[in-house]
Subunit: 335 residues, 4 copies
């Protein structure tokens, strides 16, 4: 007996990845929900196969028995669709930034737009299972974390909780992402000739993912400097995180903190002292890989955190959340 | 005493390459002509330098003493601007496909659009200097060849003229181009994530550059099969050309034909028997490189022709034409 | 009850892909066989997981109960290991070119080396299931096809069998491959800076995969012109195949031939008239996708065939063969 | 009357770039010096052209009247060749790391090798013209700076001299380089399939370029955290530099410091407040582009510095030094 789950925005990169992952999940049957804003575009296959497509219409969704809907849509579309779906008793996993912060003021400050669903903002469960697993199983609305914050928080929070990060000295997170993070759309900025052979920084100190890191890690904005960069690759995020460590004598001490925290986490992998992950290590997987370098003479530490932005940074984590919501094993369909 | 020359479409890839080449040409001063259709976009430099910018307005162009205007614009814009410029006694080098064919019927058949300037179509000199050098110096309007036809015709015409190509057996030209050939614009098709890691065929047997090859090479359409492909690189064209050779005994015989024909051509380079060029060999140069393989036992021959689509396939060849029009050495600014 | 299967050469690109595919196959347990020629290199993971590793030693292999061994090794290593493994009653799927041809003379002519196992050359079953399915289930030794021939033969043979290809006019196969086809090794030719931004032709008319195409398609060498090219992508093969079609009136007629032939084949997909596949369509899949363009006025036809060289062109097809050998569903672990 | 200059290591990426730049320099004639360690490799051109090649032999170099020799060689080769060349009254511009530090102890600590020419280490002039211009004209031996330190020092030193960097809070330099920085050689690490689609950190906190930054900027090691990363591009370096600014109120204040310092420098370009360079801005140029972001509320500042590692980071800066040594205009051949 499989559960029917719907995907809005299935032509985007995160949405397509969701459809791929759900197609290999033994407990669910994915259904494509065609939203009015979708661009056309059909496979050239003579005999196309794949999930059924139905209109993204509340009555049809209800009639089709869709239990969970994934929204791989812009925030404004998510804000519009979510209340309609919840009213039908559909549960929602939203992959946009619409419900990741906690107050309309914070949302307005970072997203430069008014939030139209303040109650849902307050209600949404933040879907970073490694730190917020309790609220997810019963949640009507799970807000899937941003890609950059997922990699940053998994690397930072255990060390901050353990008190080994000198917050006064400031933490630098130099983040790099593949181009699929910008979504699937016509844009000169992400056109091939502008990106290939290039590398660029953007949203320096003011990326809208910053407040998500602050909320989860407990850091203050003045303590945390974040810059995003565009790598000429299609997928993957690597973050190089600089801080001063206090109360530790070796990289092994930092790793021991991670080991204790992540011993039972299936999707966090650690590296031996002196070793760090690269993008290939995590491509097409739901893992977050973490390594750390420490210079005992000066206290300087550098952590490196890597994820696939479309998997642990989007679709994979969304399925991880769905697994928790529907009572499946958390790793089902993801290993 | 330098000659002032204008560039319309200077923000496109061919236009920007033109500005770069003209900037290193000792005999001319480039001026940027701002056309109403130009997208915005300014350098972030605190103290920008570079050529002057003026409006692409006939009266201003005349007042500024612009002698030659390069049109790096779509065909419909070229058809609109060319008569205005010629009326002002400006000479024009058009980089679009507007004036490359000879009849409005042929234009309509391949470009799927009506030609609005039939007289200019008849008047334009085709700017492939290696084969059409005579008419260029005195021409008011030079039509710069397409990128694919430049590589194809330089490889094919000497052999066809020498009678060593078995036309009845058919010639196959399998052509591959970098993405800048599609122009600088927002488009999902040429976005980074769609192109990287990919390779695709397009306009199979019906690319609008085919008639240019037929006109210059003398081949009939039924004798010439052409397919274009998109390579995930920013610039460069490589064409692999298959034919049956008659009346020759070795690759050296084919090379001897090329050597005789191109002995005095500064921009065609030949390869030793068994060797062929790649894209790196011609990147950022105005050369067309040609090599040929021959299997004496069966008569099968394969030629490989490579150019930089933005240089010999566009801006460089346009400057080569300008040199002929203005009486400069043909290689000025191009070596 | 799973079957233990071994992989020699598991650090190469094809070998690693095999391990990945076998890891998701419910009926087998992969074991890594460490061969003396293997380069070192270990994951930096603190707690590595994955298949067990044992020495590639006949007695150990026997003791460990390995039923099938995949050889993702160079031909000379395959010629050395295969008789030892068969003597132990291990069955072998060889991914090298060692056993793809039928005579030592043909092998010597194309591989420029002596064949040391002529009896095994004669015995080996050619593992292209779509055309040679009968002999595979009972074979001791299956020779997995080359990547280029897989794409070429699947596109060509149905049409040749149907008699619609004008063989006298010659067939051109212009083939392009990603860089993983060259294997995983230190080499200036395949170093990043030499390949990125580049595109090159190699082995023009004399690639060692040509005789495999001739054997399966029935074509003569003089009728078939083949050139290989290197695309700056990691994986994927696209072949553009030119021929004259006889006895057909439309692309639909050619497609109907494919449809009849491939109706029950799970890994061949066809495209609607006018549509052709690209590399992204088949990346990370075991599909061979085929589309065809036809110009009725002249009889010229162009077929486009695409595979992932590491999957249908190597590891995926090897597992497809293993499924047939061990009695699993042919698609097990491959969809 | 041109000056003859020699290039050792002309087949490497920096050496080939040197040959290209010197070929366009009106005052010099480049000569290729064939060193015994050079790998073979010849162009396939039927009629190759280009600079003359002579053996890298002291007597021949003297007989040929070579005035300046560029060493685009590994440090150990530079240490061997330099004294021989100086003994012949040839002047040397060394592009390796052999002579960039000041003491054998420092060299041994960072290069993990003994220095065999301590006197030359003491004598060499450091070739960063923007800060060390005085000693270069009369120097026998100029040590061309490393690529990473060039970008770092040009961004950091004016601000440190002006006293606006809070050194106690620490400076982070997150540096990214294209693959040509690793040199031209066969290596699995820099092979196409390992690099494409990937991004990785290396030499975290212990890159051998660190001491060059410390020497020029005046920073202490404990104040400066540096990590190098590999970008999947062929050329270019971008460094993102984080620091706390003191005594300034706006990005304009930081820019004003740069403007005063670089007003007369032809190869440093500044960006407007809020804008920063990317790799495309500096590709194939000798410019170092710098932009800065400042958050007045918290004092956090981020500078971005970009160069082409093969030009301002190697061959271009070497020619800039040669221009100073030979009395040419500093920009000759470089604009």
């Amino acid at each position: 007996m499989t559960v029917r789950v719907g995907v809005v925005g299935y032509r985007g990169y995160s949405g397509a990845e969701l459809v791929r992952i759900l197609g290999g999940h033994p407990g669910v049957e994915p259904v494509l929900l065609e939203h009015r804003a979708d661009a056309g575009g059909h496979s050239g296959l003579l005999h196309p196969s794949g999930p059924a497509t139905i209109a993204c219409d509340p009555q049809i969704i209800k009639a089709e028995g869709i239990a969970v809907v994934f929204l791989a849509t812009p925030p404004e579309v998510s804000m519009e669709l979510t209340p309609e779906l919840l009213a039908l008793d559909c549960r929602v996993v939203d992959l946009s930034g619409a419900f990741r912060l906690r107050t309309v003021e914070n949302y307005a400050a970072w997203y430069k737009a008014a939030h139209t669903q303040p109650e849902l903002l307050a209600e949404a469960a933040y879907g970073l299972p490694e730190f917020c697993r309790e609220r997810i199983p019963a949640a009507r609305l799970v807000s899937n974390p941003g890609c950059y914050p997922t990699a940053a928080n998994l690397a930072l929070r255990p060390l901050i909780e353990a008190g080994v990060v000198d917050r006064a000295a400031g933490i630098v997170c130099d983040a790099k992402s593949g181009v699929s993070g910008a979504g699937r759309k016509a844009s000169l900025t992400t056109s091939f000739c502008e990106v290939t052979g290039n590398f660029s920084a953007y949203s320096i100190l003011k990326h809208r993912h910053v407040p998500e890191v602050l909320l989860t890690s407990g850091l203050e904005e003045r303590e945390f400097s974040f810059t995003a960069h565009l790598i000429p690759v299609d997928r993957g995020i690597l973050e190089t995180i600089y801080f001063r460590a206090v109360g530790v004598h070796a990289a092994e001490d930092l790793l021991a903190i991670y080991e204790r925290r992540y011993r039972d986490e299936p999707f966090v992998r650690l590296y031996r002292p002196g070793r760090v992950p690269d993008l290939h290590a995590v491509a097409h997987t739901n893992f977050c890989d973490i390594g750390v370098i420490f210079d005992a003479a000066t206290g300087r530490a550098v952590g490196v955190s890597a994820i696939d932005n479309l998997v642990k940074g989007a679709a994979g984590q969304a399925v991880q959340n769905m697994n928790l919501m529907l009572g499946f094993a958390e790793t089902e369909g993801l290993l």
